[in-house]
Amino acid sequence: MFVRGLPNRARKLLAAVDAAPTERCIGGGIACAPVRLWHWVNAAAILILSLTGYLIGTATPAMSGEATDNFLFGYIRFAHLSAGYVLSIGFLLRIYWALKGNAHAMQIFWVPLWRSCFWREVYQEIRSYAFLTVEPERRVGRNRLAQLAMFFMFTQTITFMVVTGFALYGQGAGTDSWQYKLFSWVFSIWPNSQDVHTWHHLGLWVIVTFALVHIYAVIREDTCRPGASDL
Protein backbone atom coordinates (compact mmCIF):
# COMPACT_ATOMS: atom_id res chain seq x y z
CA MET A 1 0.00 0.00 0.00
CA PHE A 2 1.23 3.47 -0.83
CA VAL A 3 -0.85 5.06 1.85
CA ARG A 4 0.72 3.35 4.82
CA GLY A 5 2.52 6.47 6.05
CA LEU A 6 -0.59 8.62 6.04
CA PRO A 7 -2.68 9.51 9.08
CA ASN A 8 -5.84 7.52 9.50
CA ARG A 9 -8.17 10.23 8.29
CA ALA A 10 -6.30 10.81 5.06
CA ARG A 11 -6.25 7.08 4.38
CA LYS A 12 -10.01 6.90 4.86
CA LEU A 13 -10.45 9.81 2.47
CA LEU A 14 -8.38 8.18 -0.24
CA ALA A 15 -10.34 4.98 0.21
CA ALA A 16 -13.55 6.98 -0.13
CA VAL A 17 -12.31 8.59 -3.35
CA ASP A 18 -11.57 5.19 -4.81
CA ALA A 19 -14.85 3.70 -3.66
CA ALA A 20 -17.05 6.58 -4.79
CA PRO A 21 -19.68 5.88 -7.45
CA THR A 22 -18.16 6.09 -10.89
CA GLU A 23 -21.09 7.02 -13.08
CA ARG A 24 -21.22 10.49 -14.53
CA CYS A 25 -24.41 12.50 -14.81
CA ILE A 26 -26.18 11.09 -11.81
CA GLY A 27 -26.68 12.80 -8.49
CA GLY A 28 -23.85 11.05 -6.74
CA GLY A 29 -21.15 11.51 -9.38
CA ILE A 30 -18.91 14.48 -10.15
CA ALA A 31 -21.82 16.09 -11.91
CA CYS A 32 -23.97 16.64 -8.83
CA ALA A 33 -26.19 19.71 -8.79
CA PRO A 34 -24.29 22.06 -6.39
CA VAL A 35 -21.09 21.57 -8.35
CA ARG A 36 -22.89 22.12 -11.67
CA LEU A 37 -24.44 25.32 -10.30
CA TRP A 38 -21.07 26.51 -9.01
CA HIS A 39 -19.46 25.66 -12.34
CA TRP A 40 -21.75 27.89 -14.38
CA VAL A 41 -21.83 30.79 -11.91
CA ASN A 42 -18.06 30.54 -11.84
CA ALA A 43 -17.80 30.39 -15.64
CA ALA A 44 -19.93 33.52 -15.97
CA ALA A 45 -17.88 35.35 -13.34
CA ILE A 46 -14.63 34.36 -15.06
CA LEU A 47 -15.94 35.53 -18.43
CA ILE A 48 -16.83 38.94 -17.00
CA LEU A 49 -13.60 39.15 -15.02
CA SER A 50 -11.45 38.29 -18.03
CA LEU A 51 -13.11 40.80 -20.37
CA THR A 52 -13.21 43.66 -17.86
CA GLY A 53 -9.78 42.74 -16.52
CA TYR A 54 -8.29 42.97 -19.99
CA LEU A 55 -9.94 46.36 -20.49
CA ILE A 56 -8.68 47.60 -17.12
CA GLY A 57 -5.16 46.62 -18.18
CA THR A 58 -5.28 48.32 -21.57
CA ALA A 59 -7.91 51.03 -20.92
CA THR A 60 -10.72 52.00 -23.30
CA PRO A 61 -10.69 54.46 -26.21
CA ALA A 62 -11.38 57.96 -24.92
CA MET A 63 -15.05 58.86 -24.33
CA SER A 64 -16.13 62.24 -25.58
CA GLY A 65 -17.99 64.86 -23.60
CA GLU A 66 -17.86 66.02 -20.03
CA ALA A 67 -16.25 63.78 -17.43
CA THR A 68 -19.39 64.10 -15.30
CA ASP A 69 -21.53 62.65 -18.12
CA ASN A 70 -19.43 59.49 -18.41
CA PHE A 71 -18.65 56.68 -16.05
CA LEU A 72 -17.52 53.99 -18.49
CA PHE A 73 -14.32 52.98 -16.76
CA GLY A 74 -16.07 53.18 -13.43
CA TYR A 75 -18.71 50.71 -14.64
CA ILE A 76 -16.05 48.40 -16.07
CA ARG A 77 -14.25 48.40 -12.74
CA PHE A 78 -17.56 47.93 -10.90
CA ALA A 79 -18.34 44.87 -13.04
CA HIS A 80 -14.86 43.50 -12.42
CA LEU A 81 -15.02 44.00 -8.67
CA SER A 82 -18.57 42.61 -8.34
CA ALA A 83 -17.75 39.56 -10.44
CA GLY A 84 -14.64 39.16 -8.28
CA TYR A 85 -16.83 39.03 -5.19
CA VAL A 86 -19.13 36.46 -6.84
CA LEU A 87 -16.14 34.34 -7.81
CA SER A 88 -14.58 34.57 -4.34
CA ILE A 89 -17.76 33.69 -2.46
CA GLY A 90 -18.41 30.89 -4.94
CA PHE A 91 -14.89 29.61 -4.39
CA LEU A 92 -15.39 29.61 -0.61
CA LEU A 93 -18.66 27.68 -1.01
CA ARG A 94 -16.87 25.28 -3.33
CA ILE A 95 -14.24 24.65 -0.64
CA TYR A 96 -17.05 24.03 1.85
CA TRP A 97 -18.64 21.61 -0.62
CA ALA A 98 -15.32 19.84 -1.11
CA LEU A 99 -15.40 19.05 2.59
CA LYS A 100 -19.12 18.28 2.83
CA GLY A 101 -19.97 16.89 -0.58
CA ASN A 102 -19.06 13.52 -2.06
CA ALA A 103 -15.48 12.42 -2.55
CA HIS A 104 -15.31 13.66 -6.15
CA ALA A 105 -15.93 17.19 -4.93
CA MET A 106 -12.49 17.05 -3.35
CA GLN A 107 -10.66 16.24 -6.57
CA ILE A 108 -9.75 19.75 -7.66
CA PHE A 109 -8.24 20.48 -4.24
CA TRP A 110 -6.62 17.17 -3.50
CA VAL A 111 -4.10 15.59 -5.87
CA PRO A 112 -2.29 12.51 -4.58
CA LEU A 113 1.00 13.39 -6.24
CA TRP A 114 2.86 10.99 -4.00
CA ARG A 115 0.99 7.88 -5.21
CA SER A 116 2.57 6.06 -8.12
CA CYS A 117 -0.79 4.66 -9.26
CA PHE A 118 -1.88 8.28 -9.78
CA TRP A 119 1.07 8.92 -12.07
CA ARG A 120 0.41 5.64 -13.91
CA GLU A 121 -3.08 6.88 -14.70
CA VAL A 122 -1.71 10.27 -15.78
CA TYR A 123 0.73 8.48 -18.06
CA GLN A 124 -2.09 6.44 -19.61
CA GLU A 125 -4.09 9.62 -20.18
CA ILE A 126 -1.12 11.26 -21.89
CA ARG A 127 -0.69 8.22 -24.14
CA SER A 128 -4.37 8.28 -24.96
CA TYR A 129 -4.34 12.01 -25.83
CA ALA A 130 -1.22 11.40 -27.94
CA PHE A 131 -3.20 8.75 -29.92
CA LEU A 132 -0.80 6.05 -28.77
CA THR A 133 -3.34 3.72 -27.18
CA VAL A 134 -6.93 2.74 -27.64
CA GLU A 135 -8.83 4.94 -25.27
CA PRO A 136 -10.65 3.55 -22.27
CA GLU A 137 -14.39 3.71 -22.70
CA ARG A 138 -15.27 4.47 -19.12
CA ARG A 139 -13.59 6.71 -16.59
CA VAL A 140 -13.24 6.43 -12.86
CA GLY A 141 -14.43 9.85 -11.73
CA ARG A 142 -12.41 12.60 -13.40
CA ASN A 143 -9.57 11.84 -15.69
CA ARG A 144 -6.27 12.17 -13.82
CA LEU A 145 -4.61 14.47 -16.35
CA ALA A 146 -7.62 16.76 -16.13
CA GLN A 147 -7.39 16.65 -12.36
CA LEU A 148 -3.75 17.69 -12.53
CA ALA A 149 -4.48 20.57 -14.90
CA MET A 150 -7.48 21.57 -12.82
CA PHE A 151 -5.42 21.71 -9.64
CA PHE A 152 -2.40 23.55 -10.98
CA MET A 153 -3.98 25.81 -13.58
CA PHE A 154 -7.41 26.45 -12.12
CA THR A 155 -7.44 25.98 -8.33
CA GLN A 156 -4.01 27.48 -7.75
CA THR A 157 -4.52 30.35 -10.20
CA ILE A 158 -7.96 31.25 -8.87
CA THR A 159 -6.59 31.29 -5.32
CA PHE A 160 -3.77 33.55 -6.50
CA MET A 161 -6.21 35.81 -8.36
CA VAL A 162 -8.55 36.10 -5.37
CA VAL A 163 -5.70 36.96 -2.99
CA THR A 164 -3.95 39.47 -5.28
CA GLY A 165 -7.30 40.84 -6.40
CA PHE A 166 -8.37 41.64 -2.87
CA ALA A 167 -4.95 43.11 -2.09
CA LEU A 168 -5.30 45.50 -5.05
CA TYR A 169 -8.91 46.22 -4.05
CA GLY A 170 -7.61 47.09 -0.57
CA GLN A 171 -5.41 49.79 -2.07
CA GLY A 172 -8.44 51.60 -3.38
CA ALA A 173 -10.59 50.86 -0.33
CA GLY A 174 -7.90 52.38 1.89
CA THR A 175 -5.42 51.17 4.46
CA ASP A 176 -8.10 50.90 7.16
CA SER A 177 -10.38 48.63 5.11
CA TRP A 178 -10.76 44.94 6.00
CA GLN A 179 -9.57 44.01 2.52
CA TYR A 180 -6.28 45.81 3.14
CA LYS A 181 -5.92 44.40 6.65
CA LEU A 182 -6.52 40.84 5.47
CA PHE A 183 -4.59 40.86 2.22
CA SER A 184 -1.89 43.53 2.43
CA TRP A 185 0.68 40.86 3.32
CA VAL A 186 0.89 40.47 -0.44
CA PHE A 187 2.78 43.78 -0.48
CA SER A 188 5.44 42.29 1.75
CA ILE A 189 6.21 39.93 -1.11
CA TRP A 190 5.95 42.67 -3.77
CA PRO A 191 6.45 46.07 -2.07
CA ASN A 192 5.74 47.85 -5.36
CA SER A 193 2.13 47.04 -6.21
CA GLN A 194 2.95 47.52 -9.91
CA ASP A 195 4.32 43.96 -9.69
CA VAL A 196 1.08 42.72 -8.16
CA HIS A 197 -0.81 44.29 -11.10
CA THR A 198 1.55 42.55 -13.53
CA TRP A 199 1.22 39.10 -11.96
CA HIS A 200 -2.54 39.50 -11.57
CA HIS A 201 -2.70 40.30 -15.29
CA LEU A 202 -0.56 37.28 -16.16
CA GLY A 203 -3.00 35.17 -14.13
CA LEU A 204 -5.72 36.22 -16.60
CA TRP A 205 -3.78 34.52 -19.39
CA VAL A 206 -3.25 31.35 -17.38
CA ILE A 207 -7.04 31.17 -16.95
CA VAL A 208 -7.63 31.89 -20.66
CA THR A 209 -5.19 29.13 -21.62
CA PHE A 210 -6.83 26.77 -19.17
CA ALA A 211 -10.30 27.60 -20.54
CA LEU A 212 -9.18 26.86 -24.10
CA VAL A 213 -7.94 23.39 -23.20
CA HIS A 214 -10.84 22.76 -20.83
CA ILE A 215 -13.54 23.60 -23.36
CA TYR A 216 -11.81 21.64 -26.10
CA ALA A 217 -11.37 18.57 -23.90
CA VAL A 218 -15.02 18.66 -22.82
CA ILE A 219 -16.36 18.97 -26.37
CA ARG A 220 -14.04 16.22 -27.55
CA GLU A 221 -15.07 14.00 -24.66
CA ASP A 222 -18.75 14.43 -25.48
CA THR A 223 -18.59 14.06 -29.24
CA CYS A 224 -15.45 12.43 -30.58
CA ARG A 225 -14.25 9.88 -28.10
CA PRO A 226 -14.62 6.31 -29.28
CA GLY A 227 -17.25 4.90 -26.99
CA ALA A 228 -19.15 8.15 -26.82
CA SER A 229 -22.58 7.74 -28.32
CA ASP A 230 -22.49 7.76 -32.13
CA LEU A 231 -24.05 11.08 -33.04
Partner: protein
Protein backbone atom coordinates in the same frame (compact mmCIF):
# COMPACT_ATOMS: atom_id res chain seq x y z
CA UNK B 1 27.28 74.38 15.34
CA UNK B 2 24.39 75.35 17.54
CA UNK B 3 23.95 73.69 20.89
CA UNK B 4 21.13 71.26 21.25
CA UNK B 5 19.78 73.04 24.32
CA UNK B 6 18.51 75.99 22.27
CA UNK B 7 14.89 75.94 21.18
CA UNK B 8 13.73 76.22 17.61
CA UNK B 9 11.88 79.43 18.41
CA UNK B 10 14.91 81.22 19.81
CA UNK B 11 16.95 80.23 16.77
CA UNK B 12 14.46 81.48 14.20
CA UNK B 13 13.83 84.67 16.12
CA UNK B 14 17.56 85.31 16.02
CA UNK B 15 17.42 84.73 12.26
CA UNK B 16 14.90 87.55 11.99
CA UNK B 17 11.73 85.51 11.41
CA UNK B 18 8.66 87.13 12.92
CA UNK B 19 6.43 85.54 15.53
CA UNK B 20 3.57 85.87 13.05
CA UNK B 21 5.43 83.76 10.45
CA UNK B 22 6.27 81.25 13.13
CA UNK B 23 2.58 80.77 13.99
CA UNK B 24 1.67 80.53 10.32
CA UNK B 25 4.18 77.72 10.00
CA UNK B 26 2.70 75.95 13.03
CA UNK B 27 -0.86 76.07 11.66
CA UNK B 28 0.29 75.00 8.18
CA UNK B 29 2.13 72.03 9.63
CA UNK B 30 -0.77 71.05 11.90
CA UNK B 31 -3.07 71.09 8.86
CA UNK B 32 -0.71 69.05 6.70
CA UNK B 33 -0.34 66.47 9.47
CA UNK B 34 -4.13 66.17 9.59
CA UNK B 35 -4.29 67.43 13.18
CA UNK B 36 -6.94 69.68 14.72
CA UNK B 37 -6.48 73.49 14.67
CA UNK B 38 -5.70 73.35 18.39
CA UNK B 39 -2.66 71.21 17.62
CA UNK B 40 -1.03 74.31 16.14
CA UNK B 41 -0.84 75.65 19.68
CA UNK B 42 0.82 72.48 20.97
CA UNK B 43 3.28 72.61 18.09
CA UNK B 44 4.09 76.26 18.83
CA UNK B 45 4.49 75.46 22.51
CA UNK B 46 6.76 72.52 21.84
CA UNK B 47 8.94 74.48 19.45
CA UNK B 48 9.22 77.31 21.97
CA UNK B 49 10.13 75.17 24.94
CA UNK B 50 11.67 71.85 23.91
CA UNK B 51 15.36 71.67 23.16
CA UNK B 52 16.14 70.98 19.54
CA UNK B 53 16.75 67.38 18.57
CA UNK B 54 20.37 66.73 17.70
CA UNK B 55 20.55 65.30 14.22
CA UNK B 56 23.40 63.72 12.31
CA UNK B 57 22.75 63.82 8.58
CA UNK B 58 24.82 61.37 6.58
CA UNK B 59 25.18 61.15 2.80
CA UNK B 60 25.93 57.82 1.15
CA UNK B 61 25.53 56.97 -2.52
CA UNK B 62 23.06 59.65 -3.61
CA UNK B 63 22.58 62.77 -5.70
CA UNK B 64 21.67 65.21 -2.87
CA UNK B 65 18.26 65.81 -4.47
CA UNK B 66 16.65 65.32 -1.05
CA UNK B 67 18.68 68.24 0.35
CA UNK B 68 18.04 70.22 -2.84
CA UNK B 69 14.32 69.59 -2.52
CA UNK B 70 13.89 71.38 0.76
CA UNK B 71 16.49 74.11 0.46
CA UNK B 72 14.73 75.18 -2.74
CA UNK B 73 11.23 75.08 -1.34
CA UNK B 74 9.14 78.14 -2.13
CA UNK B 75 8.05 78.73 1.44
CA UNK B 76 11.24 80.18 3.01
CA UNK B 77 10.25 79.07 6.47
CA UNK B 78 10.06 75.42 5.47
CA UNK B 79 13.76 75.11 4.84
CA UNK B 80 14.56 77.31 7.83
CA UNK B 81 12.29 75.14 9.89
CA UNK B 82 13.95 71.97 8.88
CA UNK B 83 17.44 73.35 9.24
CA UNK B 84 16.73 75.19 12.49
CA UNK B 85 14.20 72.97 14.20
CA UNK B 86 16.73 70.26 14.50
CA UNK B 87 20.20 70.91 15.76
CA UNK B 88 21.88 69.81 12.57
CA UNK B 89 25.23 69.00 14.11
CA UNK B 90 26.67 67.28 11.10
CA UNK B 91 25.75 67.38 7.40
CA UNK B 92 28.59 66.72 4.95
CA UNK B 93 27.24 68.78 2.09
CA UNK B 94 26.17 71.99 3.81
CA UNK B 95 28.24 72.27 6.97
CA UNK B 96 31.05 74.83 7.31
CA UNK B 97 33.47 72.45 8.98
CA UNK B 98 35.54 70.08 6.86
CA UNK B 99 38.10 67.33 7.23
CA UNK B 100 39.19 66.30 10.72
CA UNK B 101 37.15 69.13 12.23
CA UNK B 102 33.98 67.65 10.74
CA UNK B 103 34.79 64.11 11.78
CA UNK B 104 35.38 65.34 15.34
CA UNK B 105 31.78 66.57 15.48
CA UNK B 106 30.53 63.09 14.67
CA UNK B 107 32.44 61.56 17.54
CA UNK B 108 31.40 64.36 19.88
CA UNK B 109 27.69 64.00 19.12
CA UNK B 110 27.92 60.24 19.33
CA UNK B 111 29.38 60.48 22.85
CA UNK B 112 27.48 63.51 24.17
CA UNK B 113 24.00 62.60 22.97
CA UNK B 114 24.31 58.84 23.20
CA UNK B 115 20.91 57.25 22.60
CA UNK B 116 19.26 60.65 22.06
CA UNK B 117 20.26 61.87 18.62
CA UNK B 118 18.44 61.10 15.40
CA UNK B 119 20.38 59.72 12.47
CA UNK B 120 19.12 60.99 9.11
CA UNK B 121 20.49 59.13 6.12
CA UNK B 122 20.38 60.40 2.57
CA UNK B 123 21.57 57.78 0.10
CA UNK B 124 22.61 54.24 0.77
CA UNK B 125 25.68 52.07 1.32
CA UNK B 126 27.20 49.89 -1.43
CA UNK B 127 28.34 46.55 -0.03
CA UNK B 128 30.37 45.00 -2.86
CA UNK B 129 34.18 44.96 -2.58
CA UNK B 130 33.91 45.62 1.15
CA UNK B 131 31.99 48.84 0.61
CA UNK B 132 34.84 50.46 -1.35
CA UNK B 133 32.47 52.11 -3.85
CA UNK B 134 31.62 54.84 -1.36
CA UNK B 135 34.52 56.15 0.68
CA UNK B 136 33.71 58.86 3.17
CA UNK B 137 36.44 60.32 5.43
CA UNK B 138 38.83 57.57 4.34
CA UNK B 139 36.55 54.73 5.36
CA UNK B 140 33.76 52.82 3.62
CA UNK B 141 30.47 54.65 4.16
CA UNK B 142 28.81 51.50 5.45
CA UNK B 143 31.15 51.51 8.51
CA UNK B 144 30.28 55.10 9.33
CA UNK B 145 26.59 54.30 8.93
CA UNK B 146 26.78 51.28 11.22
CA UNK B 147 28.72 53.06 13.94
CA UNK B 148 26.49 56.17 13.94
CA UNK B 149 23.31 54.08 13.91
CA UNK B 150 24.53 52.12 16.91
CA UNK B 151 24.04 54.98 19.40
CA UNK B 152 21.09 56.76 17.73
CA UNK B 153 17.52 56.78 19.03
CA UNK B 154 15.92 56.42 15.60
CA UNK B 155 16.93 56.51 11.95
CA UNK B 156 15.27 58.52 9.19
CA UNK B 157 15.74 57.17 5.66
CA UNK B 158 15.45 60.25 3.45
CA UNK B 159 14.46 59.52 -0.12
CA UNK B 160 14.13 56.43 -2.28
CA UNK B 161 17.90 55.64 -2.09
CA UNK B 162 17.87 55.08 1.64
CA UNK B 163 14.36 53.57 1.64
CA UNK B 164 14.39 51.24 -1.38
CA UNK B 165 17.76 51.48 -3.15
CA UNK B 166 16.80 53.70 -6.11
CA UNK B 167 18.95 54.05 -9.24
CA UNK B 168 22.25 52.80 -7.84
CA UNK B 169 20.50 49.60 -6.75
CA UNK B 170 18.81 49.14 -10.14
CA UNK B 171 19.78 46.06 -12.11
CA UNK B 172 22.53 44.95 -12.42
CA UNK B 173 23.55 46.93 -9.31
CA UNK B 174 27.34 46.66 -9.79
CA UNK B 175 28.20 48.29 -6.46
CA UNK B 176 25.81 46.12 -4.44
CA UNK B 177 23.93 49.16 -3.10
CA UNK B 178 21.24 48.25 -0.57
CA UNK B 179 18.57 50.24 1.27
CA UNK B 180 19.68 51.12 4.80
CA UNK B 181 17.26 48.72 6.50
CA UNK B 182 19.40 45.88 5.13
CA UNK B 183 22.32 47.22 7.18
CA UNK B 184 20.62 48.71 10.25
CA UNK B 185 18.33 46.10 11.77
CA UNK B 186 18.10 47.01 15.44
CA UNK B 187 16.74 50.61 15.28
CA UNK B 188 13.36 52.00 14.28
CA UNK B 189 13.69 53.25 10.69
CA UNK B 190 11.31 55.81 9.24
CA UNK B 191 11.25 55.61 5.47
CA UNK B 192 10.50 58.83 3.64
CA UNK B 193 10.70 57.66 0.02
CA UNK B 194 10.51 59.88 -3.03
CA UNK B 195 13.13 61.00 -5.49
CA UNK B 196 13.26 63.47 -3.79
CA UNK B 197 10.66 63.50 -0.99
CA UNK B 198 8.41 66.55 -0.74
CA UNK B 199 9.89 69.33 1.42
CA UNK B 200 6.68 69.70 3.45
CA UNK B 201 6.67 65.96 4.14
CA UNK B 202 10.21 66.16 5.48
CA UNK B 203 9.53 69.18 7.68
CA UNK B 204 6.17 67.76 8.78
CA UNK B 205 7.85 64.58 9.95
CA UNK B 206 10.52 66.45 11.90
CA UNK B 207 7.89 68.77 13.44
CA UNK B 208 5.85 65.79 14.54
CA UNK B 209 8.84 64.14 16.18
CA UNK B 210 9.87 67.37 17.93
CA UNK B 211 6.37 68.22 19.13
CA UNK B 212 5.25 64.85 20.39
CA UNK B 213 8.63 63.37 21.22
CA UNK B 214 7.78 60.09 19.51
CA UNK B 215 7.78 58.43 16.13
CA UNK B 216 4.71 58.86 13.93
CA UNK B 217 2.52 55.88 13.06
CA UNK B 218 4.26 53.85 10.37
CA UNK B 219 2.74 51.62 7.71
CA UNK B 220 3.72 48.09 6.67
CA UNK B 221 6.82 49.39 4.88
CA UNK B 222 7.90 51.78 7.64
CA UNK B 223 6.58 54.95 5.98
CA UNK B 224 4.74 57.61 8.03
CA UNK B 225 1.03 56.84 7.49
CA UNK B 226 0.06 60.50 7.50
CA UNK B 227 1.86 61.08 4.19
CA UNK B 228 2.03 57.65 2.58
CA UNK B 229 -1.33 56.00 3.27
CA UNK B 230 -2.93 57.03 -0.01
CA UNK B 231 -1.89 56.66 -3.61
CA UNK B 232 -1.34 59.51 -6.05
CA UNK B 233 -4.38 58.10 -7.87
CA UNK B 234 -6.66 58.43 -4.82
CA UNK B 235 -6.33 62.21 -4.68
CA UNK B 236 -5.50 62.92 -8.31
CA UNK B 237 -7.44 65.85 -9.74
CA UNK B 238 -7.71 63.92 -13.06
CA UNK B 239 -9.40 60.99 -11.33
CA UNK B 240 -12.81 61.95 -12.76
CA UNK B 241 -11.40 61.44 -16.28
CA UNK B 242 -10.16 58.01 -15.24
CA UNK B 243 -13.59 56.95 -14.01
CA UNK B 244 -15.23 58.44 -17.10
CA UNK B 245 -12.93 56.48 -19.39
CA UNK B 246 -11.25 59.56 -20.84
CA UNK B 247 -7.60 58.86 -21.52
CA UNK B 248 -4.73 60.57 -23.29
CA UNK B 249 -3.78 58.35 -26.27
CA UNK B 250 -0.68 60.19 -27.51
CA UNK B 251 1.46 62.89 -25.98
CA UNK B 252 0.37 65.52 -28.49
CA UNK B 253 -3.28 64.59 -29.04
CA UNK B 254 -6.29 66.72 -28.23
CA UNK B 255 -6.98 64.65 -25.14
CA UNK B 256 -3.59 65.60 -23.75
CA UNK B 257 -4.51 69.24 -24.27
CA UNK B 258 -7.84 68.65 -22.54
CA UNK B 259 -6.02 67.25 -19.54
CA UNK B 260 -7.48 63.73 -19.63
CA UNK B 261 -6.20 60.88 -17.48
CA UNK B 262 -2.62 59.71 -18.23
CA UNK B 263 -3.31 56.05 -17.37
CA UNK B 264 -2.61 54.83 -20.91
CA UNK B 265 0.60 56.83 -21.02
CA UNK B 266 1.97 54.67 -18.24
CA UNK B 267 1.11 56.88 -15.27
CA UNK B 268 2.07 55.00 -12.09
CA UNK B 269 -0.34 57.00 -9.92
CA UNK B 270 -2.49 53.91 -9.22
CA UNK B 271 0.44 52.06 -7.66
CA UNK B 272 2.36 54.88 -5.99
CA UNK B 273 2.05 55.86 -2.35
CA UNK B 274 3.03 59.49 -1.88
CA UNK B 275 1.52 62.87 -1.04
CA UNK B 276 2.22 64.67 -4.37
CA UNK B 277 -1.43 64.93 -5.43
CA UNK B 278 -2.40 66.32 -2.00
CA UNK B 279 0.50 68.57 -0.95
CA UNK B 280 2.04 69.11 -4.42
CA UNK B 281 5.46 70.63 -5.03
CA UNK B 282 7.22 73.95 -4.72
CA UNK B 283 4.85 75.36 -2.17
CA UNK B 284 1.77 73.70 -3.64
CA UNK B 285 2.23 75.02 -7.19
CA UNK B 286 2.08 71.82 -9.19
CA UNK B 287 3.04 68.14 -9.42
CA UNK B 288 3.98 65.94 -12.40
CA UNK B 289 0.43 64.98 -13.47
CA UNK B 290 -0.71 68.60 -13.23
CA UNK B 291 2.07 69.58 -15.62
CA UNK B 292 0.88 66.94 -18.09
CA UNK B 293 3.23 64.05 -17.39
CA UNK B 294 2.40 60.74 -15.77
CA UNK B 295 3.71 59.72 -12.37
CA UNK B 296 6.99 57.73 -12.46
CA UNK B 297 6.31 56.03 -9.17
CA UNK B 298 9.61 57.43 -7.82
CA UNK B 299 8.69 56.66 -4.22
CA UNK B 300 8.11 52.96 -4.94
CA UNK B 301 10.45 50.02 -4.62
CA UNK B 302 12.58 49.29 -7.70
CA UNK B 303 10.87 51.86 -9.91
CA UNK B 304 13.85 51.89 -12.30
CA UNK B 305 13.47 48.19 -12.98
CA UNK B 306 9.83 48.07 -14.04
CA UNK B 307 10.37 48.70 -17.73
CA UNK B 308 9.40 51.88 -19.52
CA UNK B 309 7.94 54.78 -17.57
CA UNK B 310 5.41 55.14 -20.38
CA UNK B 311 3.83 51.65 -20.45
CA UNK B 312 0.70 50.71 -18.57
CA UNK B 313 1.63 47.03 -18.57
CA UNK B 314 5.20 46.87 -17.42
CA UNK B 315 7.85 44.49 -18.64
CA UNK B 316 8.34 41.13 -16.97
CA UNK B 317 12.01 40.20 -16.91
CA UNK B 318 11.64 36.83 -15.19
CA UNK B 319 11.16 35.18 -18.57
CA UNK B 320 14.55 36.29 -19.86
CA UNK B 321 12.99 38.53 -22.49
CA UNK B 322 11.40 41.90 -22.15
CA UNK B 323 7.72 41.34 -22.70
CA UNK B 324 4.61 42.46 -20.88
CA UNK B 325 1.87 40.27 -19.48
CA UNK B 326 -0.29 40.62 -22.60
CA UNK B 327 2.48 39.65 -25.00
CA UNK B 328 3.44 36.61 -22.92
CA UNK B 329 -0.19 35.62 -22.33
CA UNK B 330 -1.23 36.00 -25.96
CA UNK B 331 1.79 33.96 -27.09
CA UNK B 332 0.94 31.20 -24.63
CA UNK B 333 -2.78 31.23 -25.44
CA UNK B 334 -1.95 31.28 -29.18
CA UNK B 335 0.42 28.32 -28.90
CA UNK B 336 -2.12 26.35 -26.87
CA UNK B 337 -4.89 27.34 -29.31
CA UNK B 338 -2.88 26.03 -32.26
CA UNK B 339 -2.12 22.81 -30.39
CA UNK B 340 -5.80 22.37 -29.60
CA UNK B 341 -6.73 22.94 -33.26
CA UNK B 342 -4.12 20.43 -34.46
CA UNK B 343 -5.26 17.91 -31.87
CA UNK B 344 -8.88 18.38 -32.92
CA UNK B 345 -7.91 17.79 -36.56
CA UNK B 346 -6.08 14.56 -35.71
CA UNK B 347 -9.01 13.41 -33.55
CA UNK B 348 -11.46 14.08 -36.37
CA UNK B 349 -9.26 12.24 -38.89
CA UNK B 350 -8.90 9.27 -36.54
CA UNK B 351 -12.63 9.16 -35.99
CA UNK B 352 -13.32 9.26 -39.71
CA UNK B 353 -10.97 6.36 -40.44
CA UNK B 354 -12.33 4.51 -37.42
CA UNK B 355 -15.92 4.90 -38.70
CA UNK B 356 -14.90 3.90 -42.21
CA UNK B 357 -13.22 0.78 -40.84
CA UNK B 358 -16.30 -0.05 -38.85
CA UNK B 359 -18.56 0.55 -41.84
CA UNK B 360 -16.32 -1.63 -44.01
CA UNK B 361 -16.35 -4.29 -41.32
CA UNK B 362 -20.18 -4.22 -41.07
CA UNK B 363 -20.74 -4.40 -44.84
CA UNK B 364 -18.30 -7.28 -45.25
CA UNK B 365 -20.29 -10.36 -46.37
CA UNK B 366 -20.18 -13.06 -43.75
Amino acid sequence: MGGATETFYSVIRRQGITRRSFHKFCSLTAASLGLSPLAAVSIANALETKPRVPVIWLHGLECTCCSESFIRSAHPLIKDALLSMISLDYDDTIMAAAGHQAEAILEETRAKYKGRYVLAVEGNPPLNEGGMFCIDGGKPFVEKLRSMAEESVAVIAWGTCASWGCVQAAKPNPTGAVPIDKVITNKPIIKVPGCPPIAEVMSGLVTFMTTFGKLPELDRHGRPSMFYSERIHDKCYRRSHFDAGQFVEKWDDKYARKGYCLYKMGCKGPTTYNACSAIRWNGGISFPIQSGHGCFGCSEDGFWDKGSFYDRLTAIKQFGIEANADQIGMAAAGAVGLTVAAHAAVTAAKRLTHNRDRAAHKSKPS
